[in-house]
Amino acid sequence: MIKKSMWALLITAILILFQSLLSPYIAIKTVSPDLALCILLYMALHNGIMTGQVLGFFSGLLLDVLSLAPLGLNSVTRILIGAFSGLFVGMFFIDFFLVPFFASAIAVILKALVFSLLSLLFGIQGLSVSFVTATFWIEVLYTALVAPFIFGLLNLFKPILVGGGKRR
């Protein structure tokens, strides 16, 4: 589990760096797809709760460090998303398009919901989540459309990212 998570974290770090550099070129109305979330979903859906929540913690911490978000915001959010996604391990066949598409869309919506809740509980300044703006739904759709390609890319590394341990 540790080895798989470390490899996934390394791929996450590389994609985050590339996303930060290429953001002006790939963004639609200032919105970029959440690539780290796609990787988290892939690992959680294939490996289960433990991998999902551990990878969620570390990838969230990484995002908090590299952005203006308060430390802990993304890590709490992604632990919850990783653990929740891990519940569905082995329940269905992960095809090329439908599962990554819908899982990512739901994950982005969940992320926004958790951000709203944390903003309310901790009084986080400057964090405004709105479900009625175009940018929010662009982020949902953009991430959902990119997810199948991220899943396809990660399938190339399936031997080192998936399996090897007991699953439910």
Partner: protein
């Protein structure tokens, strides 16, 4: 299908997962709770510095390819422009002579009015190498850090259409890179002044570069003296931004009956969607924090 040797295995696994979940969530929530305290900011600064070394290396590679492709394209264009430039050179020779005369006259007038001609502000040029990773927090990554003399809270400006405009301020400094909070971020504030009528207010962002800036706390009696297109600049109060840096132009004035102040929408001077080069100001009177890096 799921197979277990016995029920005990399943319970053990669930317990382990649950305990790990509780530990990770608790740690993250405590970190979030105290994330405005200085000792947690130090962890952020260290982590940011660590990753900024990798990002700055990748930026060098990226800029090499971008510059090479641009150079090839520009070579063709440059050959035609060369001829035009030779002709223009003669013309500029005449303009330069006129400029020298005007400059002398300007200096004489400044002396008469008693203005100092000494520059107290140093400019550190920088390049934007990355942008925020999510849409909730706006941030710009620049390629200058502690090594180049950058410190937290330094103002950042850029030139657009020949005018100097406010970009934001430095909020996090690493060894080789820094994070800039742009003026359109919802946490960003700048004490401002309408340059024509001299009324003061506070400019803040609305969280997106597609949305205008908001100038608030301007007295209602100023309504007759404000027009669309008036320039708003920093007032210098609070010691964060030096005075006189243009922030935006008045786009819309909202006069609520129930309010005693006006709400003014500003179009930023700086075009953030095309922003590439910035300048970090090292002005004498600005309150700065030392970076621990």
């Amino acid at each position: 299908m799921r197979f277990f040797r016995n029920k005990g295995d399943k319970t053990k696994k669930l317990n382990r997962e649950f305990i790990t979940f509780i530990v990770l969530i608790s740690f993250s929530l405590f970190t979030l709770l105290f994330s405005t305290r200085p000792f947690v900011q130090d962890i952020k600064t260290f982590g940011f510095s660590f990753f900024s070394t990798f990002r700055s290396s990748l930026t060098v590679v990226k800029m090499y390819f971008v510059n090479t492709i641009s150079a090839i394209r520009e070579l063709k264009v440059m050959q035609d422009e060369y001829q035009l430039l030779v002709e223009k050179l003669d013309e500029y020779g005449k303009i330069e002579r006129d400029y020298a005369i005007l400059k002398n006259e300007n200096n004489r007038l400044r002396e008469l009015l008693g203005f100092s001609t000494e520059e107290t502000t140093k400019y550190i040029p920088g390049l934007i190498t990355g942008r925020s990773l999510d849409k909730y927090y706006s941030a710009l990554v620049i390629n200058k850090g502690v090594k180049h003399g950058v410190r937290k809270n330094m103002p950042v400006v850029a030139y657009n259409g020949g005018m100097q405009g406010l970009v934001g301020k430095i909020v996090q400094v690493g060894r080789y890179e820094s994070l800039v909070m742009p003026i359109y971020d919802s946490s960003a504030y700048a004490t401002s002044r309408l340059l024509h009528s001299r009324y003061e207010g506070i400019t803040s962002g609305q969280g997106s570069l597609d949305l205008p800036l908001r100038l608030e706390q301007v007295k209602k009696r100023a309504r007759s003296e404000i027009s669309r297109g008036d320039i708003v600049g920093t007032s210098g109060m609070g010691g964060v931004y030096p005075p006189g840096i243009a922030i935006g132009r008045v786009e819309k004035i909202i006069d609520h009956d129930y309010e005693t102040v006006l709400e003014i929408m500003l179009e930023p001077i700086v075009d953030f969607s095309r922003l590439e080069y910035i300048f970090i100001l090292e002005a004498e009177h600005i309150f700065l924090e030392d970076s621990d890096d």
